[in-house]
Symmetry: C2
Subunit: 347 residues, 2 copies
């Protein structure tokens, strides 16, 4: 039986997503997502917001991240299983959905493992654009896993960096990352310690994956005037920075009720002052105040960023036709006659 | 590029679901789901439970319903838009996912518009099996929309009813429902009022869709000894029963924190006594006490029922091979080399 148009939801597979990225260009795709994030952060107050809904197990977490404004609804399914890597699986996989608030009907189902990497990089670059010191040229990238290249490309495309200094406790990860970034126009410096990586860097990005309280940056490593882009501390019990750094920093966050639970600031008192990044973007709150200030973007990833990324993919899907229509929704001729539709499908 | 096996998630489309139902038989499929629900309700305490996460708009609601035990995780996306019917769309559409708690990887994506109708009917029949009076033969079915036939088949298959008395404020809905149920072995009586429909019925099922406080059953309509199966009161501001009926009834619910917000009991004090149905199934709490008691199953639909239904579909999918493998998950050869996978897909 041929499903009707109303029953069909465009699906963007991993292969489609890769084709979309190559059609648009990686840097341009990240730029478009960054623009969508800025646009949505400017209308932050128009969104339904809730901390993500997490199901924790001893080895990982599965989360749902919903949000909506008055026209579109989005959610993402995402897992975090650090031990997966050793089994040949992704630490993080994700997919997401965009739906029409007026009807409740899904309008897009999409892979989001790749898309999450793109939007996380876009988000970091948007934050750095507002917070990093003037004349930033160099980023230290500590943790050279799946997110490292995307961070580098995003900071190059949006913040104009020209040099990335790589460090990972596993030298093979650094070799992989350096190889991938060859030919991007970035100067890549492979370093053998975190201390070496941060030399001369104005942006310090930490993106490590252990599910534990770690100290990737110690207090004495962080000099004045830098911008810290802390990505890896993103669930309860998982942080990357010495708490002394937090006390010396001006801290910027996405959505405080979620960051208080999941971010670096889980180490601080629940009333420790933080600034919501959307207020910096609208101009309601100051970003970097002077050249000596340490700014910290305590990034955990919020649903509105996925909403923004899905909007971009939805537009691109319509522009390119790259999608597979999925027979996801039952659509009987008479909406009350679900049973009749089922019975007519017999045989 | 051919995605690897790890990247592929079996997808059960609406067409596949209809084929599965016909392969197994509708009554048998409902019976299997009812058995899975009973099994999961017996191990109720082993589940992560949370009220569903709802995004309300003036015209409807979009909800996520997650739950997990120590091996499987499930969630359902479901909307409720009463005005959709007048636009030729379903009031309720749904899809859902089952995932492996150990890796966070999805193992099944499935349509759930049809499956929700099956599991809701199965759940009602499980409750009636424990709560309806002995010798029940007749159900009044008030509201003859998309759920009505499934309710009737489930009560026939699991509780042994032989007669259904139909009423809907729209006579066309009753004609549709009576036509669909012809040939099922049930005696169907089309009635022209709710009062007429409940004559001689031991089970009173209400399943109407208006998003408002309605009074489908008034106090004087409900005599002693009946079992009320109230399905339509399932979101804040939407109820079907006069509150006086609630005060005369022994009330059974799925998950109190959700039912207090969404069910008929939103009309009552927050501490009004209710019994959790899982405790009746395990024997920890009594069900029906005597022939004169009015029992009320205040059903709103809980995530564990979807979990149970998805388990059954997952098993059937493996038995029959009826599914479409979806390229939903990025699976680079080296899990840390997402970027390399993307770049190798160029051109």
């Amino acid at each position: 039986m041929q499903p009707s148009d109303k029953a069909l939801v465009p699906f963007v597979s991993v292969d489609h997503m890769m084709q979309l990225v190559h059609r648009v260009g990686l840097a341009e795709m990240i730029r478009r997502i960054a623009e969508a994030i800025e646009e949505d952060f400017r209308r932050w107050e128009s969104f339904d917001k809730t901390p993500r809904v997490a199901a924790h197990s001893p080895v990982g977490v599965i989360e749902l991240m919903p949000t909506a404004n008055d026209t579109l609804y989005a959610f993402k399914y995402v897992n975090g299983h650090p031990k997966n890597t050793s089994e040949g699986l992704q630490t993080v996989t994700a997919f997401g959905l965009l739906a029409d608030v007026d009807t409740g009907y899904p309008v897009l189902l999409s892979e989001m493992t790749l898309l999450t990497a793109l939007r996380t990089a876009a988000m970091s670059a948007v934050a750095a654009k507002y917070l990093a010191p003037k004349g930033t040229t160099t980023m230290a990238m500590i943790g050279n896993g799946a997110q490292a290249e995307f961070q580098s490309i995003a900071m190059q495309a949006i913040c104009g960096i020209d040099t990335v200094r790589l460090y990972d406790k596993d030298p093979a990860a650094t070799v992989k990352c350096a190889g991938n970034l060859a030919g991007t126009g970035l100067t890549i410096v492979a370093c053998s310690s975190a201390e070496e990586a941060i030399e001369g860097a104005q942006i310090l990005t930490t993106c490590t994956a252990d599910k534990q309280y770690a100290t990737i940056l110690t207090d004495n490593m962080v000099g004045s005037g830098v911008h810290i882009n802390a990505i890896g501390g993103d669930c309860p019990g998982k942080t990357e920075l010495a708490s002394a750094i937090l006390h010396r920093s001006s801290i910027f966050v996405e959505y405080p009720p979620q960051t208080r639970i999941e971010g670096e600031i889980q180490q601080l008192d629940p009333d420790h002052p933080v600034t919501e990044l959307w207020q910096v973007i609208t101009g309601a709150a100051p970003g970097r105040r002077d050249a000596r200030e340490i700014t910290l973007f305590d990034s955990v990833g919020f649903a509105i960023e996925d909403f923004s990324a899905l909007r971009v993919v939805h537009d691109l899907t319509r522009e390119t036709g790259l999608n597979l229509p999925l027979d996801l929704l039952a659509d009987p001729d008479d909406p009350r006659d679900l049973y009749g539709m089922l019975m007519r499908a017999a045989g």
